[in-house]
């Protein structure tokens, strides 16, 4: 009986770690999509993407705090939704401005120039966010009831279930958009060859702007989810998840949309299970401080055997 209980406990721990990984992975996937879509079309790594996420989360927070003060009786989910709906246009406009001001003039420049510009934009947004919202960590209010859903000892909060569900829905929607709509076709054509697409009547500037806008909306959503899940928001909250999501995009094959989803989920699972089991796997030699090493080791292995990522296709270098 004791043995059975122990086995049950181990199983619960495993389920819990898998859930932890799925929540983390869903958020990485959403962010990774923004990187991968822009890369697919422009071959540009938009390092400012993580900071657009920050602005999204902080805008939502400000809106939520305002609504709570102005209409204390408003239900939590509605406040949250309004916060999100306020964050999306702000992020979209911000992203379009970045694209127009910082990236478009450099579109035909050597590839390093826009990369460095992207890093610069990231620092500028971080600094401006710090001046606008201050340096401190801010509490993101608990708008959705914190009641956990339990199975054995494994628990998951409603917020986290929402993160998984919403991410899945958004990703399906995005796949439909890219594969079934006119805009999607134009996007795929521009990714293939912007000049030829232009000759066929596609307006590449419009398609690129739309790509940035979609990426920014996903970033806003991910930002609100991150802040709601962990209950905090601060001016550089997007930086580290941005870096991780970029890694996820590379893992899945950058430029490939299903690849970003797969890469994100995998990275989340690897991180959670890695931190949970690396000690047992190595007989206690390596502890949880090696969890990042574990994740990056897998990334290196994947890239050795599949240089263009798990689902990436090897494409000939563009002239």
């Amino acid at each position: 009986m004791r043995g059975l209980n122990a086995a049950r406990g181990r199983m619960d721990t495993f389920i819990q770690q898998t859930l932890n990984g799925l929540v983390l992975g869903s958020m990485y996937s959403l962010i990774a999509l923004g990187y991968t879509m822009v890369y697919g079309i422009l071959n540009l790594i938009n390092f400012a993407h993580g900071d657009v996420l920050t602005v999204g989360a902080l805008t939502a927070l400000s809106t939520i705090l305002f609504l709570q003060a102005a209409f204390p009786d408003m239900p939590g989910w509605l406040v949250m939704l309004t916060g999100l709906l306020a964050a999306i246009p702000v992020c979209v406009v911000l992203s379009l401005v970045i694209e127009r001001v910082a990236y478009r003039p450099l579109r035909n420049a050597p590839r390093l120039a826009p990369l460095i510009t992207a890093i610069g934009v990231s620092i500028v947004i971080q600094t401006v966010a710090m001046l606008v919202w201050g340096r401190s960590y801010m509490t993101f209010p608990q708008l959705i009831p914190d009641a956990p859903v339990t199975y054995g000892e494994a628990t998951i909060t409603l917020t986290k279930l929402m993160v998984i569900g919403l991410s899945a829905a958004v990703m399906i929607g995005l796949m439909l958009l890219v594969n079934r709509t006119r805009l999607g076709r134009a996007m795929r054509a521009t990714a293939e060859n912007p000049r030829v697409a232009g000759l066929m009547g596609v307006n590449p500037n419009f398609v690129i702007a739309m790509t940035f806008a979609i990426g920014a909306s996903l970033a806003a959503l991910a930002g609100v989810m991150l802040a709601a899940t962990y209950g905090v928001a601060h001016f550089y909250m997007g930086f580290l998840p941005g870096l991780k999501a970029f890694t996820a995009a590379v893992l899945g094959g950058i430029g490939n949309i299903p690849g970003a989803m797969l890469g994100g989920l995998l990275l989340g699972l690897i991180e959670a299970l890695g931190a949970g089991y690396i000690g047992q796997l190595t007989g206690g030699v390596l502890g949880s401080h090696y969890q990042d090493i574990f994740a990056f080791l897998i990334l290196v292995l994947v890239l050795i055997f599949r240089p263009s990522g798990l689902l990436g296709e090897r494409v000939a270098d563009r002239a």
């Binding site: 819990q16 932890n20 983390l24 001046l131 340096r135 962990y230 905090v232 949970g276 949880s288 401080h289």
Partner: protein
């Protein structure tokens, strides 16, 4: 970009505060003084440095330390300045940002040395204070940290390194003893953030806990920028500890406390001074109640002039005292005291006068031992109750 913004920000804040205080005339007058002093000829001004993280996750604590030092400098200037030998000088605070990053810490230290400051209050983190101390030692410049608690800081043999709080050998022992004697813990899981402070404190707790017969059922690690601790906490949950001890800062401890509660772990959350702040209570929300923490020093409300300080601070900066501003405040007065006793305001004279310090300040009577540690430093225990940090006891 970063640099210029930082120079503008404090000015903007000062302006805002000056505007806010306009209603009270006698208040506004001293506030104009420092600005005038800064513009006065260099010979009339003595520069004192301050370094702490002004950006990043614990910027609120860095700003708190800087505010404490600034309050002391402004008070000294408002009282007519400081008489050294037969001349009267004004003080000027030279503030730098080290981003809580060891590399940035040494850069900031070099800037302070190059600025011509005669002594420095800082840094905040042990991880930045220790590498920076070499640079100050080479410049023969007195360094008083108001908050770095890692024992190594004063064990390097530098005659310029001082601190006005008890170190982690003492704090870690108090925490472990508290777990064993008051919380009656049989098992403990220990997490640290891999910084000089967090790891150092956690190691001492682990050692003393084992000596006291508490079983260490988990030793996990995270980093000082993480927000997701579900993986390590899930692992800890499997070991069912009575106490989870965290060596780290409030910015990470807040979300960690929330996740402990969400995972349904029933353990007391024990932590050191880095977590013992109003900021933690805010960030942890309704999970804050699980915290018991220590502060390397006497509790502000237990200090004779504590309430007065809290009021002055609130009035001047329009925010609450976080943790260590009373100590950075005292550190400036100790430097001023050393200058007065030396009768000279150069680096070597201040350093020579420091070991004989016997100063009765806000945080108590301050004197240093041979290494530069404070003599008879206090450790206070706190507990979160009804959303407020509540004083429990003091151990000396």
């Amino acid at each position: 970009m970063n640099q210029t913004l930082f120079k503008v920000a404090p000015l903007a804040i000062a302006a805002a505060v000056a505007l806010a205080a306009c209603g009270k005339k006698e208040e506004a007058a001293p506030k104009a003084e420092p600005a005038k002093a800064a513009a006065a000829p260099a010979a009339e001004v003595i520069k004192v440095g301050h370094v702490g993280p002004l950006t990043g996750g614990i910027a609120h604590l860095g700003k708190d330390n800087e505010n404490g030092a600034r309050l002391a400098v402004e008070e000294i200037n408002a009282a007519g300045g400081i008489k050294v030998g037969d001349k009267t000088f004004k003080l000027e605070l030279v503030a730098e940002d080290d981003k809580a990053d060891p590399k940035e810490g040494t850069l900031a230290a070099q800037k302070i040395v190059d600025s011509g400051a005669v002594a420095i209050v800082g840094h905040l983190n042990s991880g930045t204070t220790i590498p920076a101390s070499k640079i100050y030692a080479d410049a023969n410049m007195t360094q008083i940290s108001p908050s770095a608690t890692n024992p190594k800081y004063t064990e390097q043999g530098f005659k310029t390194a001082f601190r006005v709080v008890a170190n982690d050998n003492q704090q870690g022992a108090v925490l472990a003893n508290y777990a064993a004697d008051t919380l009656k813990a049989k098992t403990i899981a220990i997490v640290d953030d891999r910084t000089a402070y967090g790891q150092g404190l956690a190691d001492v707790v682990e050692k003393v806990a084992k000596e006291k017969g508490i079983k260490v059922v988990g030793r996990e690690f995270t980093n000082d920028k993480a927000t997701d601790f579900n993986a390590i906490l899930t692992k800890i949950r499997g070991a069912k500890p009575d106490v989870i001890m965290y060596g780290g800062m409030d910015a990470t401890a807040g979300p960690m406390a929330k996740q402990i509660k969400q995972l349904g772990i029933k353990a007391t959350f024990l932590a050191g001074d880095g977590v013992c702040s109003p900021e933690f209570v805010k960030l942890a929300g309704d999970a804050a109640g699980i915290l018991t923490c220590s502060m390397a020093g006497e509790a502000v409300e237990k200090l004779a002039k504590g309430a007065e300080f809290v009021d002055k601070y609130k009035k001047r900066f329009n925010q609450d005292v976080q943790i260590y501003s009373p100590y950075s405040y005292d550190a400036v007065y100790i430097i001023a005291d050393a200058m007065k006793r030396a009768g000279k305001a150069d680096r070597a004279s201040i350093t020579a006068a420091m070991p004989t310090t016997n100063y009765n300040g806000l945080t108590g009577t301050i004197a240093f031992d041979d290494k530069g540690d404070i003599k008879g430093g206090a450790i206070s225990m706190f507990k979160v109750n009804n959303g407020k940090l509540e004083y429990v006891s003091t151990v000396r």
